[in-house]
Symmetry: D2
Subunit: 348 residues, 4 copies
């Protein structure tokens, strides 16, 4: 940490700052300059120190020089992490992860049929929501545990691993029982209680970036999970909130290469939420794979105009299959592969 | 709801849309125009309909014409709600609510001493955190239930009602036992599970606006609480996240008069989080009261440079007392009062 | 400037950085640490250096320690600047500046009548646009020089100084001939050519903050004007662009006390643009004065539903007069005054 | 336009609104509903009407149903526009436009050498700034007309067309004399005077999206140019300003497919400004091409650590050539080509 002190500070003022640093068990390294004096703080960093030092008289600014996360950092773990999500599927390797399915699970037939359709088009993980975060208390909030059972049926019928969102600590056991991957949604990126709890199990966790989550905060949220002992974390960029109103969210493609540079964890792109508009899902999916994403999460529904949620961003089976053929060409250009069925579908 | 249809739509295309509207049990009122056709949807609104209709062929846009919230709306409840927080303090009436105290409760002496200091300067509600949301898993996360007990002691010694943040459903009973008001923090504005649960008790709840929470989403979050039966909701504007990096958050003063226009619920201003900088707390507090806020939430610490959290935005006792004298003058100008002790302090 | 070097750098790598610093004519002060090495750059700062140093191998980050502006900085000019705008009106002193009038000048009668109405209610500077920046090329773009002449007539009839927007270097002479204050609009905050030119005259310039202008950029834009020799600069906060769609812009109240802390220049608040909604103008105007603004800029129109621009945020004469009475009470609470007519109007 | 009226409106109130609509020469089509009444406005749209109607008593909201731009709209011009920039290069066809070169032209040798290097790697248009918008008045602001002459020399030596930024109407003749394409920078997206003037010449104009420019505003800015008679407009997405501080700007990949859906104009991606970080330029360039961009604008400098501007986002010759090889593979996957030299470079 580096402390910049205003030119108005006297030697006695500098002493006050140095003593406060030493009280915290760290050493101070003072460089008196003509315009500003600079004090280097030698010793372990701690989140609260920056705030404390900023409050001292004559301190103009405090600059951190180390990253606040360790376990998620590529600095401490240079190789890519590959997460085994079960049933033969891995996230973060050469083969892309393609998670597809409906926003909400509506009934057993609906999820089983959709599972088969997305698998035929090249998806290798089935998504479906049983617990749905909705802005309005009057909207459909998901089937709950019944939905999880339908999801498990679809998994059994297709052999695909499944992912579903967990919103509440109280549902952790149920979700772990039926699902292969636990999704933490954007609104819960900083639900630290939930992060702690999914850190205590060993199920893979996919952590979505919050609507206004900075990259550093997102990685710190992942650090929460890893700090409890669960190394199986997958990141997911799903669009951020900006001033632009032409789309629901602004997909942040910069986040993909930067998250992969700063961290060893795999990064998935969600262009369905990242755009909120059917017409933009395919081009943004292609862009994300070209930029280095390790996979996609896509909302698919047989009849988007009857979907109980997120219809405006859900692809039909036909559009999803068409998207997969285009994605397959981009994947080949960046030396990534799609799963067996998808690859052959793409080659057609 | 109004549906705008593209000029390319044929009469058959319009029929498809009309039939879909009728399937939902609503009536369609069609106006064929030269450039665009417009279809009015007659019948109860529902959150998922907009999305559904947007996916229909040739639909260009769908416009909602009613507010998605009812219970929080001033349209359905024209008079101001005044929340009784106990111990003789009301939020939303002529007397301003001034919630002050440390970010985190650090020990019993600390909170008791701070309580007495802020009360002497005119605060009428004591704040203090026992459960702290922190970006980093390695930061101090609060004393938990021990902190709640210290808070209750401070309440008993001063007679002030207290407010503290609830982060987890599992801590609801403890927080209800020791605290007069439950705070839902900005990161949990859309933690819908938590909103449901605090809606089931009758304790007053102060709901902070999320870092990227739109006014409508904030009011819908309040609707979650009221929909479960708890009418005692207080709103709190605490700054939003913008592109500006000169302060931690951007206090949104527009939100105060707008929330009071749209809703009957009281609105508190938190300039400590809304600025993140000690030097800005007083002027922004004064501005918020001038703009119609029903009170303030202010972080106060005897030694901000030793605070375990949020030192950079915490006022010393002296600065808080000085701020209260300035706030008292603004309060008088807008025909609001401060509590007994504060009024006399201000008059000095 | 402080350069933070990654732990991977060898002594030879550090040498490369030190030599590059010395090439620029500055000295390097190296502190080798266990986790990171830090290099202080001793010598005059220059805007391009940060970028240059960031590109050197193993440099993790570069931190500036001095402000990039001088002439606008309170560090170099501790006393408040008071700008004499002519006709007996000063901006930045105890008396508040209240600039009011229509968005666009529509004809001579319109501006003369409005001038008299706003003056009667307490305004002391007349605003009116002759050159209008409009998003659409098909919108009304102002009367041009004819509008300036009408404005001058209104000034002559009331004795009030006037302010009008300059959009183009080609109109500088005309604007200087007819107007007392030159307004640089939000869209031109970084029109550096225009800033240079208004820096070469001595007319007072009011510089609006851009829709996405950071405080530092705003002050640097003011520095452009002062660097050309014009010391008569007034800042104006008029709302920024955020994710919130409930209002046209988000008035940034934090900017007022911060700009006044960092700079000696006066700061005006424009709640008409800062909210874009008639119902919010009065409370936000009151908040801005309470937070320390040196005055207001308010759009007023006799018939907002017939205004050729910005009707939705224009006050009628009656609402403006009512606002002024409320503002007068806040002004008194912060020991500011309104001009003669206004003061007596407020006292009624 | 559709006007939504509050339930409180009486028949007389509705009459007032209808008469105001009729005064503007348009017809009103009233549908009285149980919760809200709706009035359709029949007749030509005009930008100021929305504001006017919003100010009428009992009007809750006004919804536009047509786009405010015509000439740039794909609705009125379904085929892609291909802009001939001269010297055999076209923007918007199958062959990608790759504009590369230094941020600032520093001297003749520098620009000629860089031109040859980027051409060898596959660029087909040379970029270089002679007039530089800089946040600080103390930064290097370009060589001016001398720089334009150096640029023309580099064009003559390589045969490549050139693009350079125009900041001021006063420099229009000079820029037209030496440059093949006029660039309007992000800070000038809404410098309407400049847009008018470049609309009066026939030189191709590349219009960058502003830092906080909404898609609709960007297209309206292009409409300004076309409305003056210049059809040769190219759009350029260069990143927007968001809350994220990990990069200089947030490249908005959604904007590429949406601008191409709404408009027939070609769209170029600028990942140098869109990220501000060397390490992100290549993956974001690849993503942009995969998402449908018609080309790239890339900053290249032989020694970024000596660049007079934008060093932190400039690629060396080697990194640019490496990027082009990767881009070539993505181009092939989306059935786009690179220019002769580039294609063979890519094939190596």
């Amino acid at each position: 940490m580096i402390i910049v002190v205003s030119p108005a500070a006297t030697p006695e003022d500098l002493d006050v700052i140095v003593r406060r640093i030493e009280e915290t068990g760290r050493q101070a390294h003072l460089s008196v300059g003509t315009e500003r004096s600079i004090i280097g703080v030698i010793g372990p960093d701690a989140p609260e120190l920056q705030d404390m030092f900023e409050t001292l008289p004559h301190v103009e600014s405090v600059h951190r020089v180390t990253k606040p996360y360790k376990l998620v950092s590529r600095e401490f773990h240079p190789a890519n992490t590959i997460v085994d999500v079960g049933k033969g599927v891995f996230v973060g390797g050469t083969e892309l992860a393609v998670m597809a399915g409906p926003c909400s699970i509506e009934n057993e037939d609906h999820i089983v049929e959709t599972a088969k359709a997305v698998q035929a088009a090249g998806a290798n993980i089935l998504r479906g929501g049983a617990y749905k975060p909705r802005s309005s208390p009057y909207a459909f909030r998901g089937l709950g545990e019944a939905g999880l059972r339908h999801l498990a049926t679809a998994s059994a019928e297709t052999g695909m691993p499944v992912i579903t969102e967990l919103m509440s600590v109280g549902d952790l056991d149920a979700v772990c029982r039926y699902s292969d991957v636990i999704q933490i949604g954007a609104r819960n990126m900083q639900n630290f209680i939930l992060l702690d709890e999914v850190g205590k199990v060993r199920k893979p966790v996919m952590l979505k970036r919050g609507l206004s989550g900075q990259i550093e905060e997102w990685l710190l949220a992942a650090e929460y999970i890893m700090a409890q002992g669960n190394p199986n974390v997958i990141l997911c960029e799903r669009g951020i909130r900006t001033f632009e109103t032409a789309y629901r969210n602004t997909f942040d493609i910069n986040a993909i290469p930067l998250a992969k540079e700063l961290s060893h964890l795999p990064v998935i792109a969600d262009p369905s939420h990242g755009t909120g508009k059917v017409g933009l899902v395919k081009p943004v999916a292609m862009g994300a794979i070209a930029a280095g994403a390790d996979g996609l999460m896509i909302e698919v529904h047989p009849n988007p105009d009857h979907a109980l949620s997120d219809g405006a961003q859900s692809l039909t089976y036909e559009r999803f299959a068409e998207m997969m053929r285009s994605v397959a060409r981009i994947a080949a250009a960046v030396e990534r592969t799609l799963s067996g069925v998808g690859a052959s579908a793409a080659a057609r």
